[in-house]
Amino acid sequence: MLEFVLPPAFLMIFGALLIGVARPALRPLLALATPLVTLYFIWQVDDGIQQTATFLGYQIQLVEGSALRRLFATVFALMAFGGVLFAFRQSKWWELSAALLYASGAIGVSFAGDLLVMFLFWELMALFSTVVVWCGGTESARAAGIRYAIIHLVGGIILKIGIEGLLIQTGTVEIRALSLDSFATWMVFIGVLINAAAPPISAWLADAYPESSPMGGVFLSAFTTKTAVLSLILLFPGQPLLIWIGLFMIFYGIIYALLENDMRRILSYSIVNQVGFMVCGIGIGTELALNGAAAHAFAHIIYKALLFMSAGAVLYQTGERKCSNLGGLFRTMPVTTICGTIGALAISAFPLTSGFISKSMINSSAAAEHMAFVWFALVAASAGVFLHAGIKFPWFVFFQKDSGLRPADPPWNMQAAMILFSVLCIGLGVFPGLLYSLLPYPVDYVPYTADHVVTQLQLLLFAGLAFFVMLPMMRRTLTISLDFDWVYRRALPWVVGVLDTALGRARDAVTRAVLLVGANTVQLIREKPYGYFSSRSPMGRTAIWMAVLLAVVVLLAIV
């Protein structure tokens, strides 16, 4: 009955592996063609289960289509193309190959018909995203990659237990809406949330992404967290807990981004913040909210990649990653400046950009459900987004004082990628119908009402005003912590700082204690001349142990 459908993820895996064995001259062509061909096959996937296989004695659903799944797969493929375009002349072939394998994992998760398939591609993503982090090539990238790998390994294990538990309890691992009523579903929930960078395990993201290469960061920004968002939409829509987790992420991202000095780390915290909006939308769970979360993921991938591209271009050209050492680059990097600013406007949800048409859906869904507190928090957070990503990033990198650096715009392929994504940001903002037609539920939402536009502009203006009013002070001290006279903004970083110190001390103490106990345990058991379990003359001890075991077994057997 089923016609053979080529799973799009397999196609991309094949392309990525082909890069490794192809002649060097053909590699860029292959890397650029693979995402586009994959994109074509993504659009060939019809609704419903398209392709099954047998694994571990179960019928698994390799490919299941739906509007939502195609939407995510489309943006992942687009992203892979943009990323390769940005990187193909600068990256080593294995970085491109790893990045495409990473992307294929994301596409595979998008079309996964059951949790088993989802898990397989989930692990593929974890594996190759680690390789992408390692391609940063520095000592700190190596260390960050190891930490990143361990977090994702633990996350994968938790997910695996959840899936196996579900399989045994219910006999099915179909992807469907789950409720948090058993240990297994909780494990699935936690496993997915770890990839979404939800609290308390958000730190891996801002730890690892800034250590990647200027090109690698672009890929990393897109896939892991957004596949988690998709999985949450499919598995836990309308789970009220997600609203609060989302809100926490939103403010966590804002606060840490405001305190941060490394430009790509600012953007990394901003990913947490933006994913927070999506998670919050999923928690609200109405059709409008889920549409909003999906649309926001789509828009976010593109503008966040654009921001990472502009930051990557600056890093590539100057080798400098700290905001305090950058500034005044608009003179010699006009294209990067313009593209970076477009990205910044989009993330701030400026009208006529992609961020505006997507984020306002989430805000409106909170209003429609009469969740006053949530709505207020989301609106306040929108101002915060403008502060840290919309103004802080471009201002300190491209404008501000003159740092004396005079780098040129980056090579043509980087510029082309940035321009392509800028056009997408504006295009989606001007023609919202393009994105809305791809959404899972029918859309009767109109973004450009006078009310929406005026509210958003007012918000942005006041936030902008606040930033520039305080600018003289920042210029004088040259610190990066932005102290606003707005009470909670001044108090909150302080509270966070105090808490952070206290928590840091507590964590250090715990770490020390664990290390001490661990070291003693390891000392006891490891192969050392005087360690008990590994003496160099093991025969006598073995004989004694045999006697002991025999005595135990026989005694227990007879008694």
Partner: protein, 490 residues
Amino acid sequence: MTILEWMPFSVLVPLIAAPLCALLPGRVMPWSLAMLAVIASAAISALVLPAAVDEPLRYAFGNWPPPFGIEYYVDAVNAFLALLISAMAVVILPWARKSVNQEVPERQGPFYALFLLAMSGLMGITLTGDAFNVFVFLEISSLSTYALIAHGQRRAALLASFRYLIMGTLGATFYLIGIGLLYIATGTLNMADLAERVPEVSDTRAVRAAFGFIVVGIGLKLALFPLHRWLPGAYANAPSAVTVFIAATATKVAVYILLRLVFTVFGVEFALDMPYREVFFTLGIIGILFASISAIDQPTAKRMLAYSSVAQIGYIALAISLVSVEGLAAGLVHIFNHALMKGALFMAVGAVIYRLGTNRVEDFAGLAKSMPWTMLAFVLAGLSLIGVPLTAGFISKWALIQAAIAQDNWVAVAVVLVGSLLAVIYIGRIAEAAYLRPAPENRAPIREVGPWMMVPLWLLIAANFWFGIDTSLTLDTATRGAEVLMGVGP
């Protein structure tokens, strides 16, 4: 001749070829004869497996009817294992040629003769249906293994071999005492016969003591913590080819004979009455944690992998302590999968030793540049050991975790997962050195190894992925075998 009549020859061919091999001069002839013998043995095993899965094959030696004569008894469990042993020997021998030329330059005739003896001993333990005959083959394989280990280049090999000799003999003696007690209590040595008579006398102290002696004696042979001490030294000092072979097969055969005696001879109910579950569960868990932590800071790759083997034995002990069809199937499938991954890992390390002359962990620095295919193989086999999806190791851990969850045994689940994390660390140490650290300046340029070593290595890597995706041979046969052992199903 029928398959039934061919079946004993999978043991006899290598056994008869061994003395011939010892007499052959030079390097090419002994190796060729050994190769022919193991290919014949593997071909017979491959033909026997499908026949034995349907119905047990019973072959009486010299036409003496079973209770009096020695009988070979082959069903899904041991046909599967016999195929594993002989197939691994077929894959390992071509690999061994180059390595043995370097590490055992002279008198290769006796070396290959010992190899054949060790192999036929393992095959014999697997196929025989007679408890005393098990002891005979156990001694054949053990004695030849001691001699093989002593062929190691360093002097420590002699000491390691001697220690293994002493400890292995202790284990074998315990087993013999146990069998003796059973014989006194029942008057038979045939396993099928024993299985019928043991229940009548199962509450006598002699039978219970026999259980204790047999479990502890075989526990040493399978390197169950804390009786594992012979293993790291033996694996680390033996010639690389020997390490690959015994790591892939020897401890697995011990697990088989344990399962056969505990479940077929003593029976499930008797085992549940005995402290079988508690002993294997506790020692399995401690073994996993202990050996994995020990593996992390071993100075050489071979020692590290040896400790990892002790940990894998822990997984198998944990699986078979669950006493359910799923648990036994997980244990059996891990026997098979672990042979694939450990074989590949030791081959990759052996290739490094062949080129570099050392396997200290820090000497792996920068090797990914000069030996890219070997190191890639190491990493892929390492992923299988860790249990990454689509590898054979994933199937093992999946089956084990399912068996544990089905019994709500969360301690087992947690330990398996911690063990995987520890495996990441010790495999990661080597991978990190090979890929992320620069090669030392003063190292002489080294080349990748040739096809004799590369092809068997990548065959095993391919098998690791094949059996990670298509589980119809492994998991289905293991489940069938587990049903036979548990005495359920058709």
